[in-house]
């Protein structure tokens, strides 16, 4: 990220870059890409868990942003607006993949039934992971747990926990209400607490 900021000339304000983009300046758009490509790629990768797919979806998202930047009115930050595109592209892709795939990798209705809102997150009976567990294994466990969430739940918890986004920013990015964001966050946390209890208790 340090390198990104240097390359992107942070003295140039974001709104100036956006205005230049709206006038057709593709170099200004390159600057915006440099600023956000790592975060965007990281966010998508955390949702789809495949580097090539994340690369393609990040490219698609930026191309869509370039084509529709004329419609950006500056009511939110460019980043929030960009996130909305990213989320649309990624969630659509995950949904299509779900339809094409073998079955319900995630299902909101099933998930909500499975989780008792009042349930205490109980420690799992499984053996605790070894202290020598490789980082790759840890990552795999987390990815596997996240893969059990619906695309919308993944998006909400990742935006909140890894991006530190506010409820209203997440709501804007997903085009839903703040109440929906909080509710999804509740169920996503419960689910991940159940699945990853042994991991975060022992890392």
């Amino acid at each position: 990220m340090q390198r990104e900021a240097t390359l992107a000339q942070p003295d140039v304000s974001e709104i100036d870059l956006v205005k230049r983009c709206q006038a057709g300046d593709s170099e200004a758009f390159d600057e915006l890409v440099i600023r956000y490509r790592t975060r965007i790629f990281g966010m998508i990768y955390n949702m789809v868990h495949n580097e090539q797919d994340a690369w393609d979806l990040a490219q698609d998202s930026f191309v869509k942003a370039w084509k529709s930047i004329g419609r950006f009115r500056g009511k939110s930050s460019f980043y929030t607006w960009m996130y909305r595109i990213v989320m649309n592209v990624t969630i659509d892709w995950l949904r299509k993949k779900q339809i094409k795939g073998a079955g319900a990798e995630f299902d909101d209705a099933v998930q909500l039934k499975e989780i008792d809102p009042a349930a205490r997150t109980a420690p799992r009976a499984d053996a605790l992971p070894s202290e020598r567990m490789e980082r790759g294994e840890l990552r795999q466990k987390i990815d596997k747990a996240i893969a059990q969430l619906s695309p919308e739940h993944r998006a909400v918890i990742l935006m909140k926990e890894t991006e530190d986004m506010q409820y209203h920013e997440i709501a804007e990015a997903l085009g839903c209400s703040i109440g929906t964001v909080m509710s999804r966050l509740f169920y996503a946390r419960k689910k991940l607490q159940n699945l990853l209890k042994d991991v975060y208790e022992n890392v």
């Binding site: 593709s26 890409v33 790629f41 955390n46 191309v63 370039w66 990552r139 991940l192 607490q193």
Partner: protein, 172 residues
């Protein structure tokens, strides 16, 4: 922020977003405060784990990513330009055809309507007058002139020097 459901309030409480009266009321409503605090600690640990493990996603070949993106954008822009040109090329003949068709229909319509209207415009009496002849023996200096304005649907018959009105001029 007005929260309606337990889930919303719980989430806000976990994230430290619940304040004032809402906070007091919510904490008072918890059946087991110690369990709730333990749950909150769990959620914080989960958040820290996700941030540490997922927040550090590396992005290899980022320069190539930008390069590939620029090329794709340029390619897409060029394709759009070509499409626009093609659209313009198609539009011109389409406009010409549309114009020609409209004109032909207008002409056809006009001819049909005018042909239908003309026979009815000339009255039976006027036909009789036009066909009548002035007898040169009876009225040697007689002249009959007709002025007709089809737009106003008016016909004026101007006669001069008639000694007597021919019987054919009389309306039956």
């Amino acid at each position: 922020m007005f929260m309606k459901t337990f889930e919303e309030k719980w989430t806000a409480w976990l994230d430290g977003e619940l304040t004032g009266k809402e906070l007091v009321e919510f904490e008072a409503s918890l059946p087991d405060r110690a369990a709730a605090e333990a749950e909150r600690l769990d959620a914080k640990k989960l958040g820290a784990l996700l941030k540490k493990e997922l927040g550090a996603t590396t992005f290899a070949n980022e320069e190539f990513f930008s390069h590939q993106l620029s090329e794709r954008m340029a390619r897409d822009d060029a394709a759009e330009d070509r499409h626009d040109e093609r659209s313009t090329w198609w539009t011109v003949p389409r406009l010409v055809w549309a114009g020609a068709t409209s004109l032909a229909m207008f002409v056809l319509f006009t001819v049909v309507v005018m042909r239908d209207k003309n026979p009815g415009e000339q009255s039976q009496y006027l036909s009789q007058i036009m066909n009548a002849r002035v007898d040169p023996a009876l009225s040697p200096n007689a002249s009959v002139t007709m002025f007709e304005s089809k737009e106003d649907r008016v016909t004026v018959l101007w006669t001069e020097g008639l000694q007597s009105l021919p019987s054919e001029y009389a309306a039956k």
